[in-house]
């Protein structure tokens, strides 16, 4: 799939009700326009529940290479340093919770560079048994980026989200 086709697919999904409804509710928004220069990187802000000394939104960089034929990969991003958010600044979850598991920054192949969830292709790497064992959590051809954004928004607004 060419970058142009992937980009067009994404632009359609960003104009869809799924994305625009969340945007209208203040749950998320594009951080900057989607451009060919930045592709396959796309940046969104995702709002988070208020926690002491923590931002009320996080910048997420989505790697959408081959969007439409493979799943995205996302990670928290630092706009100032133009790099992945430093691991100590990543959101934390209650011990044993899904929030902690998805935002974990140790013990896997891409700590601090992806979300540890089957939607994220970096997390899927080397997990060949996940699709059969956990079909309900897999990214399918029916899924669109707003589904993944919605998931991250839910975790950042969960009572299991402790702050950063």
């Amino acid at each position: 799939m060419t970058a142009t086709l992937s980009q067009r697919l994404l632009e359609t999904d960003l104009a869809s009700g799924d994305f625009c409804i969340g945007e209208a509710k203040g749950c998320w928004k594009l951080a900057q326009p989607v451009t060919e220069q930045a592709w396959p990187a796309v940046f969104t802000f995702i709002s988070a529940a208020e926690r002491p000394n923590c931002p009320v939104e996080f910048l997420v960089r989505w790697d959408l290479d081959q969007y439409g034929s493979q799943s995205p990969s996302g990670a928290f991003w630092d706009a100032e340093s133009n790099s992945f958010l430093a691991i100590p600044k990543w959101p934390k979850g209650k011990p044993g919770s899904v929030v902690e598991a998805v935002f974990k920054t140790v013990g896997w192949a891409a700590p601090g560079q992806g979300f540890y969830h089957p939607y994220d292709r970096k997390a899927m790497h080397n997990h060949v048994k996940w699709p059969a064992a956990h079909p309900q959590y897999m990214w399918t051809k029916e899924n669109v980026l707003p589904d993944f954004i919605s998931l991250v928004h839910r975790y950042l607004n969960s009572d299991d989200y402790l702050g950063c």
């Binding site: 919770s97 540890y116 309900q136």
Partner: protein
């Protein structure tokens, strides 16, 4: 053209669409242009129904269909934003948890997030203890997102929804 608004159009079995309408247009005119007028026995609602959170013990939502001869402005769509067309009048919903269940007849304009919050109230689950609970749609075994409206989840020919309230456990290791 008078002031135009971005609105969200929901219909049975489909993902929502973003549409643009003039505030002086009637809803009938908008739905005609989009070829989605309701048929016999179908209804049009506006807004999102959160009545279940205010009155969780009632048997059904009291959310009435609108008159599509009214204009976008008269229907307060600049505030409500959502239009649900070709909708059923109510969506019977059953949520099962720990071998017990609760039922309610929801407006098709209620969201999955509202059903989840309602279910936690009915099962008396406090926020902290229930933070990892999600609604699993039966028999599909999928997890609809909080912003999805119940009407969208009804595939053609299906008139009710069944959910299981389950702890989300993403794969590890």
């Amino acid at each position: 053209m008078s002031e135009a608004l971005e609105l969200f159009l929901h219909s049975t079995g489909n993902r929502p669409q973003t549409i643009v309408a003039a505030v002086t247009e009637t809803l009938r005119s908008v739905l005609t242009r989009l070829e989605c007028l309701p048929g016999a026995g179908e209804h049009v609602f506006v807004g999102e129904a959160i009545i279940a959170l205010e009155d969780p013990d009632a048997a059904e939502d009291h959310h009435q269909p609108v008159d599509i001869e009214l204009t976008i402005l008269e229907l307060d769509l600049p505030h409500h934003r959502h239009i649900h067309t070709r909708a059923v009048h109510r969506v019977p919903v059953k949520v099962t948890y720990n071998g017990q269940h609760h039922e309610r007849r929801f407006s098709p304009a209620a969201t999955v997030g509202t059903v989840l919050a309602w279910a936690k109230k009915r099962f008396k689950i406090d926020a902290a203890a229930g933070a990892n609970l999600v609604l699993e749609l039966e028999p599909e075994k999928t997890f609809p997102t909080a912003n999805q409206h119940l009407g969208e989840l009804l595939q053609h020919g299906r008139h009710d929804l069944r959910f299981k309230l389950v702890a989300e456990v993403t794969p590890q290791g």
